[in-house]
Amino acid sequence: MKLPIYMDYQATTPCDPRVVEAMLPYFSESFGNAASRNHRYGWEAEAAVEQARERIAALIGAHPKEIVFTSGSTESINLALKGAAQMYAEKGRHIVTCQSEHKAVLDVAKHLEMQGFEVTYLQPDTTGRVSAEAVAAALRPDTILVALMWANNEVGTLNPVREIGELCHAKGVLFFTDATQAAGKIPVDVEADHVDMACLSGHKLYGPKGIGILYVRRKNPRVRLVAQMDGGGHERGMRSGTLNVPSIVGLGKACELARLELPEESARTAALRDHLERRIFGELDFVYLNGNREHRLPNNLNVSFAYVEGESLIMGFADVAVSSGSACTSASLEPSHVLRAMAVGEDLAHSSIRFGIGRSTTREEVDFAATQVIAAVKRLRELSPLYEMALEGIDPKTVNWQAHH
């Protein structure tokens, strides 16, 4: 067992060795520019790119021509939201999204607000889910775009994408979904789910960092975007720049592996996740699941350990690499905006830990992590004045705290 045990797979994943192997020839041997039409170097690169396009499209049920290569999900989100807003501004200036989206979506939405667009930020329910009814109620005659994620990166909650997609198509509103965490983890089918645009990122599914795609629907409806990167007119004019062939090949391989191994892998990770959850909930009191028990990613577990602060908890099991929703661990002073949007109390947000189960996670690792976490929580609760109060029957929420900051 290699320590520390990596359990932060939502942040990033290691490159699968099969991906690395597929990429290697494209650095120094088949190094051509995929846009070079006059010689074999170019043709080889182009063929490799087209094969990758097919593999990526196959993972999400798209046509290869609907795949636009970008540097990752952040860029794809920028292109999708800004590109669509600018293209369809004449039609309307209203956009619907959600408070628990990734910062990349929220920051682009803020940017568009400054450019005169109006954005509705729906509040998810307490499990992090947005219902199609809530979306329907937010739609206006001037709504041009709905942007709601497939799976949340912190709590793993899945949105009812198909229902939202159907609604948007019925109303003639474009639907973008951030599938960064969903792709490769759960079945994604842009056709059946009525998705118009979707993004995914190589480094979240055992591919390289710095490569991703935007899926852009070609018909029913044909989605048009204003390019955010001008230049040679690559990628149907939507994203100029010489293609990053080795990374594209890697992303293609990663998507192929994800598609072939998804049924087995999602069942395996879910079983390990459930084991971790059972141990934590079986051996500790005052623990709360953040997310949705029914509609969730198979590889994600987000738990609040009441009366213990997240950063001190992470310090207590240094041999397990995880993330916390506590403010102390991040640059900002606010705890996770996702947990806030779900109306999880700030005290519990400070006590949250996100566990990720990955392709190479073993049962032994999960048991090791569970044992360490449980021991650390117990030890820190010995130190916790809040736990002491809870045991005395005083709910810390009812105390009038003299807050400093």
């Binding site: 916790s384 004045p385 705290w401 400093h404």
Partner: protein, 130 residues
């Protein structure tokens, strides 16, 4: 974020963890911070004459908050009330090599000392009256 050796030592081997009888007239209790801010410190002192003969703490907070309160109990044990009140957060920052984002932890520890002494003095004043 990397922690200093001293923070890690206090985190792993916190000194004077526990609780004193908060209803005892010789015990002063200070509780500062708030759960939604991510830290709460409870610091208690047992006083004989004007000297602190025992001190205990419990802290909900990050490693630096735990270390700051652990260190505070170590420092005030054996000190007079006035000496304890003279302890400043900057001394804690220096001793534990706290980075700027963790200075609030030391402020909280200083406040906890002051709150405990204040509580003790208030109790004594009430005793004197009755």
């Amino acid at each position: 974020m990397a922690y200093s050796k001293k923070v890690i030592d206090h985190y792993q081997n916190p000194r004077n963890v526990g609780s004193l009888d908060k209803s005892a007239p010789t015990v002063g209790t200070g509780v500062v911070g708030a759960p939604e801010c991510g830290d709460v410190m409870k610091l208690q002192i047992q006083v004989e004459g004007d000297r602190i003969v025992d001190a205990k703490f419990k802290t909900f907070g990050c490693g630096s908050a735990i270390a700051s309160s652990s260190l505070a109990t170590e420092w005030i044990k054996g000190k007079t009330l006035d000496e304890a009140l003279a302890i400043q957060n900057t001394q804690i920052v220096e001793e534990l090599s706290l980075p700027p984002v963790k200075i609030h932890c030391s402020v909280l520890a200083e406040d906890a000392i002051k709150a405990a002494v204040h509580d003790y003095k208030t109790k004594q004043a009430l005793e004197a009256k009755s």
